[in-house]
Symmetry: C2
Subunit: 249 residues, 2 copies
């Protein structure tokens, strides 16, 4: 019997290598092949002992096929920024493997997603219930994006926006901020750019300010839209969990 | 000048110690005091070199005060299951420190939240946009919980339910499943119990089945409610990310 391979889909966290899990580090160390987008591979290159195969954005399907092929007889890691289930590589691998019944043993190693590293940088923007929406319309029709944003705001969720902007679609960010203004008003919005990476920047703004100057927001940014309980306390954005309704200090 | 202390609020992930981050492990190792709920402390006891102070549920406010006090001149870790921003200790610490202007240096170390470890066990229940709701009405009024659940379902989010049940409030789970039936119909619901821990169990059910026998769901369970795109493929629950609209294998 020939030895079987293994495919790890590895969440490498938001940026800081210290935010890798022990399991992710071990998988990367023991892999004979590591595949991923250039940006992500760069962060973990020093950990890898095997061969690195870089690819570009838009080449995800080819990357998955290649990884599955190699994993039939090798230990392979496919890296994903943040957590693989949240706008990462997990679904593409799952969809491909389960629908083609590919003969490969694969395992997703979860990671720290951007919202969990970014929220505390603002104070505590998220503390419990929240909704996560991407403004990218590459894979989701824009009407669906708008509907989700509106319903999440109506539900008084803290709304966390991934992929808020890109050079190609600044207009979409402006439309989204129009919906925030309409449903919730000119509420505080927490902004975290490059969380735990070089050039990290953290500030609080409003939908009106973003509409006036959307250039402050780019694709490496994550936004937190206040719910009705979010407070600004000494410059920090805090959504209390409700202890203050029950307790006094 | 006396040496200053430090307070780490440490996300220890969903259960498996291998899912600690490198940073979390280091913080626990270097802490002179480690405070936390008994269940969480148990998982990381072997890593800790300092003194462990355990407490029970309901004693969170006292635990935070104690941790802040100790952290004025010691290195202290306050442990939180999963990620501290998602139904964890981050907001209580932030609220206390920023509102009392407590003279303490604190840092949240993010962790892997339950949904990221549980989603791949089902296949790929979450792949992008999603809403997270807790059914516990200890800290959130039940009307708010119901409103959020309804809006999230109307927005066609994959809805991830934390704390779905407890002995005290089985009726709330039944009411929530009634809302799912009403808004989305008898759709597949992915269930993960004790993700990455002993007695892990994974299955797919429906709101009708849960209403008939709610005893299958307990407080150590996380639920994933399908959106309109979620499919069951060879027994696995998969929410595709939209690649299939753009590509063919």
């Amino acid at each position: 019997m020939r030895s079987r391979g293994k495919l790890y889909v590895v969440g490498i966290g938001p940026g800081d290598v210290e935010l890798l899990t022990l399991k992710a580090k071990r998988a990367l160390e023991e892999s004979e092949f590591v595949l991923g987008h250039k940006t992500y591979v760069e962060r973990i290159r020093h950990i890898v002992k095997g061969k690195i195969i870089e690819s570009k954005m838009g080449e995800e399907v080819e990357r998955v096929k290649k990884a599955v092929q190699l994993a039939k007889s090798h230990i392979v890691s496919l890296v994903s920024g943040g957590d693989p289930s949240i706008y990462g590589m997990a679904s593409l691998v799952a969809e491909y493997v389960y629908s083609t019944r590919a003969d490969v043993d694969f395992e997703v190693i979860p990671g720290v997603t951007a919202l969990c590293s970014a929220s505390p940088l603002l104070g505590c923007a998220v503390s419990g219930d929240h909704a996560v929406v991407s403004l990218s319309d590459l894979l989701t029709p824009w009407e669906t994006v708008e509907k989700r944003l509106r319903k999440a705001l109506e539900g008084d969720f803290v709304v966390v926006i991934y992929n808020p902007s890109s050079r190609r679609r600044v207009d979409k960010l402006v439309r989204a901020m129009g919906i925030v203004l309409e449903v919730r008003g000119n509420v505080p919005i927490g902004v975290v750019k490059n969380a735990t990476r070089e050039k990290e920047s953290v500030f609080v703004t409003t939908p009106k300010d973003i509409i006036e100057d959307p250039s402050k927001i780019d694709m490496h940014t994550i936004l937190f839209i206040s719910n009705s309980e979010t407070m600004i306390v000494n410059g920090k954005m805090i959504t209390p969990r409700g202890y203050s309704r029950k307790y006094r200090w």
